[in-house]
Subunit: 219 residues, 2 copies
DNA sequence: ATTTTGTCTTTGACGACTCAAAGAGTTTAT
DNA sequence: ATAAACTCTTTGAGTCGTCAAAGACAAAAT
C-alpha cells in the first residue's frame, strides 16, 4: 500500500501528464508539491524501484500502468469525497478541496462504494472536474472552450472551474459563475484584457487569464 | 499538530487510564499498540518533551491536561465517525471500528461539526460507547452491571459492548444482543461457566468472560 | 568553441517511528 | 540474602520523507 505521500506524488504526476507522451519534469513536480528538487529526485527513484513510474534522468517521469491506475483511484476518491461533502454534509464549496486532500488517503474502498451509491454515481465533482469511473482510465483535461476563447453573445453554461484556489473560488461563488450557471459573454476586449459577462443575477467582469480558467459549453 | 501516530498513543493512554491516578504502564501500551517496549519508551519521552504527558521512569505515564484534551477530541471523532458510518452510510456494524481508526486522524473539526449536527448530537456510538462532548472532559468506563454480574430474571436492556473485535461483534449481531436490545438472564451457572439468556428472537448462551463484556441496565 | 545560465542529481544530514538485542532496575521465589 | 524472573530502558540500526548545498549536465548566449 502506497503511503499518502506517494499517493500525492502519483496524483500530481497524473494531473500534469496531459500531453501525448505523458512525461512530467521533476522540476514541475517540485513546484507542484512544494518540496525541493532533490527531494523529488529521491522519491522518484524509490517510486521507480517500486514499479509505479519510469524515470529518464534529466528527462522526466512517466507513470506505469500500475502507477496510473493507482493515481486514478486517488483522483476518483478525491472528487467523490468533494461531491459528498457538498451534497450530503452541505459544506461550503470553497472548503471541500482542502478537506478532500486529506480524506482521499483515509477512506477505504468500501466506504467509497457507499458514498458513490448515495450520490447516484455522479460524473463530475462540485468544480465540474470529471470523476474517473472504476473502469475507464480517462481523465478529461480542459479541452473545451473557456470564457476567454468562446464566441461572444452565445448562451453558455459553465462546465468546469480550472483553479481550486480559495480566493478564486470565492470570486466564482460571489459572481454566480459556479458550474451549471448560464452565462453570456457581452464583450471581450483584447486591448484592455477584460471580459464582461451577463448572468441571471446581473453582470460580472474579469481578466482574460481568469476567464481562461472557466470552461463553458454552448447551451 | 500531533501526527496520527501520536494521536493513537494518546487515545490508547486515555482509554487505559481509568483508575483514579490515571497512570498507565509502558508495557500495557506496548501490548495495546502492537509495538515493542523500547518503541514506547522512545515515543513517550518525545511526547513528554512536547508536554502531552508525564513519564515516571519504571512507573508509568500520565496525560497532562493538554494531552488529555487532545485524546478526548480524538475519541470524540472516532465515535462520531462510527455513528455516521452506520447511520448515514449504512455500513455494517462490525466494519466501522476499523474504518474510524483511520478517519479519526483525517477529519477536520469543520467536517466533524457537520456530522455531529446531521446525527443530532448523539450521546453514544453504535457499540454504546459514550461520545465525549466538546465541553465535558468525561469518559465513562464500564462501571455498570453486565450480563455476568446482574440479577437473573430481571428485564434488561443492552447498553454497551466492551469488545470491538470482529468475531465478538459478529456473535453479538447474530444473537441479537446489540445495544438497545431487551434481554433477560434465565440462568447463570458458575460451575459450568455459562450464562443463558432470553431475547425477543429466541435464546442464546455464552461464557462468563464474554457475558462480562456486555453492559446492561435494568429497564 | 567557450562561457553562462538553468535544470537536475548527488551527498550528507536530520526528525519521526520502528525493531532487536543488550543492559538496568524491581519484584518474587527460594 | 541471593538468585531468578519480570519489566522497563538504552543502544545501535534501518526506513521514510525531507532539506541545503555542492556537483553534473544540457541548452542558450556570446
Ligand atoms: Mn492528498
Ligand atoms: Mn474538485
Ligand atoms: Mn487511529
Ligand atoms: Mn465504538
Amino acid at each position: 500500500m502506497p503511503t499518502s505521500t506517494v499517493e500525492n506524488y502519483l496524483k500530481a504526476i497524473l494531473v500534469r501528464s496531459s500531453d501525448e507522451v505523458g512525461v512530467v519534469s521533476t522540476g514541475a513536480l517540485a513546484e507542484a508539491l512544494g518540496v525541493t528538487p532533490g527531494t523529488i529526485t529521491t522519491m522518484v527513484k524509490s517510486m521507480a524501484a517500486r514499479g509505479l513510474l519510469e524515470h529518464q534522468p534529466r528527462e522526466g517521469v512517466r507513470l506505469t500502468p500500475e502507477g496510473r491506475a493507482h493515481a486514478l483511484a486517488v483522483v476518483r476518491k478525491h472528487r467523490l469525497v468533494e461531491t459528498f461533502l457538498v451534497q450530503v454534509l452541505q459544506m461550503d464549496w470553497k472548503e471541500v478541496h482542502q478537506e478532500a486532500e486529506a480524506l482521499e488517503h483515509a477512506i477505504s474502498d468500501r466506504v467509497l462504494l457507499k458514498i458513490d451509491a448515495i450520490l447516484g454515481h455522479p460524473a463530475a465533482d462540485p468544480h465540474g472536474d470529471p470523476i474517473p469511473s472504476r473502469k475507464s482510465p480517462v481523465l478529461g483535461r480542459g479541452k473545451g472552450v473557456t470564457l476567454a476563447s468562446c464566441e461572444p453573445q452565445k448562451q453558455l453554461r459553465v462546465e468546469r472551474i480550472l483553479d481550486q484556489s480559495a480566493p478564486f473560488l470565492e470570486f466564482i461563488q460571489k459572481s454566480g459563475l459556479m458550474p451549471g450557471a448560464r452565462v453570456r459573454v457581452r464583450e471581450r476586449d483584447r486591448a484592455s484584457g477584460v471580459v464582461r459577462c451577463d448572468l441571471k443575477e446581473g453582470e460580472t467582469t474579469l481578466g482574460l487569464p481568469e476567464a481562461a480558467k472557466i470552461e463553458v459549453k454552448v447551451s
